[in-house]
Amino acid sequence: MPQKNDEKRTAVDKLFEDGLHSLNKEHLSNLIYTIEQGSRSVIITDVKGCIEYVNPSFSRITGYTATEVIGKNPCILKSGETPSEQYRQLWETIISGKEWEGEFHNRKKNGDRYWTFATISPIRNTEGNIAHFIGIQREITERKRKEVRFSAFVKNTADALIAIDEQGIVELFNPAAEKMFRYKKEEVLGKDVKMLMPESYRKKHEDGLKRYLSTGKASVLGMGPVELEALRKDGTVFPIELTIGDARLDEYFTFIGIIRDITERKWAEQKLINSMEELSRSNAELQQFAYVASHDLQEPLRMITSYTKLLERRYKDKLDFNANEYIAYAVDGAMRMQQLINDLLAYSRVTSRGKEFEPVNCTEVLDRVIKNLKVAIEESNAIITHDTLPVVMADMSQLTQLFQNLIGNAVKFRGAAPPRVHISAEQKKREWIFSVTDNGIGIDPQYYDRIFVVFQRLHGKEDYPGSGIGLSICKKIVERHSGRIWLKSEPGSGATFYFSLPVRN
């Protein structure tokens, strides 16, 4: 393209004529080489802004050949998104002989948009008049993308982001910070960050900053979040979680603070602490109640039974039949009350007297239970069988009580045939499922939930004695071992009680 070469020569000649006379030919060829080969786009215009020269990088970036743009105004590159005010300022600056620097949002020949950072300088001729303008541009689209990405983080995060310089002067204050501290950005930028701290933290902050600057050591840096308090514009103090980071670029320091308002969390924590305290208070009260029941409640009860008995012993002959019957009822009532108190105590002791879990061999437990129930088993001609049973982590005496209550029930609630009870265990995932199956009278499904409630009974005392505490104790024991208890039954054809215990290593 001879024409292009001509233009190039013309432009360089002009440069030379206009004031680069101190350069020799070698310098010049170096300069030309730099411009022609360099990655920056170079445009030279006349004083009216008509393009006289563009380098190959210009063509590479914009897609326009030199021929296409020579004689045109650089405004062909306008994307329409750089504010016209900026162009006005640009012209004002360069016409007055100064250099202008700034960003342009431009459009390539194919319509793609790109960002450049431009330095535009006037070039004077030997008379000192402005003869040309030279624009040197660097494409910064990739950097702009990083910037918008970064600023999207800063704008959209729910955490307040604040950057300060080494003097503690605020350099960045994001929208979340505005919301959290109730200051507008303009009210904080350029001010000391101490304005966001309650008085009691300011000295520590100053000392920390000083120490960091002199020693490079900081107690809060890289420590992960620390819990502090912050000060709002309206003077209210609120709890925060602060993470501090630092960045250096040569002589430049910045500290960034990531601040999370933890008012809600603190409130929830306090609420949790309160409920825990409430819980331990009510647990202590329950313990106290258990002791009262075991001692103080029984004493008056013992007085009632003892003295009615004494009355009976000493005056039986002097009283009539009715009086003796009344005494019998009084004694029976007091005895039952005693039983209820003892049952409640046994129920409450499942948790209050629970022992540490240890490996327990269920087969051994079962042998012991069968011994304990020897009389009932022999009287009813019951046959108890079992599969191989595992070793589990449990409170040995509670597991014994659990099996004893379930097997005892299976024997007690028998039908006409001698009781047959079978115990088995099966591992399902992370649980052992135990089952105690009987051939007894069974339970109507509508009562499945009720039978586990304290003192709920399904039968008259004459048919099946007992206070109705057994299964509630079973449930409490199983739950203390993080298991569940349930049953399947059909009235008249037996019942199977299941309970689960976690498999532990």
Partner: protein, 150 residues
């Protein structure tokens, strides 16, 4: 039933604050036909005064056995027990803890303080009589105790 060789009554010190229980013990002793002399004090401070023959207790003979309730006013049964068992002159006297409590901790603590036995008061009066009888038989017929002269 009384089988001690000399015919003096068994000296019993009952430390009990509940009049109902005091009366019951008296009745039970009566029914068991034990030859006894019962001294009753209602709190732990009185019990210690009595054992040390202080003031009005100067003439009370040293008991052969102490029936001690745990929950007492002023100085409770556990303190009384500890004090007696730490007293060179008194620690030989058998102490029967006679209480309503069937609390495991109370039982452990009592034996830890060297109680000689721990009995939970039964609800049934017949049972109570049996216990009084049994306690007497055990301590005065079966067990060999040091003679009083020491």
């Amino acid at each position: 039933m009384h089988t001690t060789t000399n015919a003096r009554p068994v000296e019993i010190l009952l430390v009990e604050d509940n009049p109902g229980d005091v009366r019951l013990t008296e009745e039970a002793l009566k029914e068991s036909k034990l030859y006894n002399n019962l001294t009753v004090v209602a709190d732990g401070v009185e019990a210690m005064s009595c054992l040390r023959k202080e003031g009005k207790y100067a003439d009370v003979p040293r008991p052969d056995i102490i029936l001690l309730d745990l929950n007492l006013p002023k100085k409770d049964g556990r303190e009384v027990l500890a004090e007696i068992k730490n007293d060179e002159k008194l620690k030989f006297i058998p102490i029967v803890i006679l209480t309503t409590s069937s609390n495991e901790e109370d039982i452990l603590k009592s034996y830890g303080l060297h109680a000689n036995c721990y009995v939970t008061k039964p609800v049934d009066f017949d049972e109570f009589i049996k216990i009084v009888q049994a306690v007497h038989n055990f301590w005065f017929s079966i067990v060999k105790l040091p003679s009083e002269s020491e």
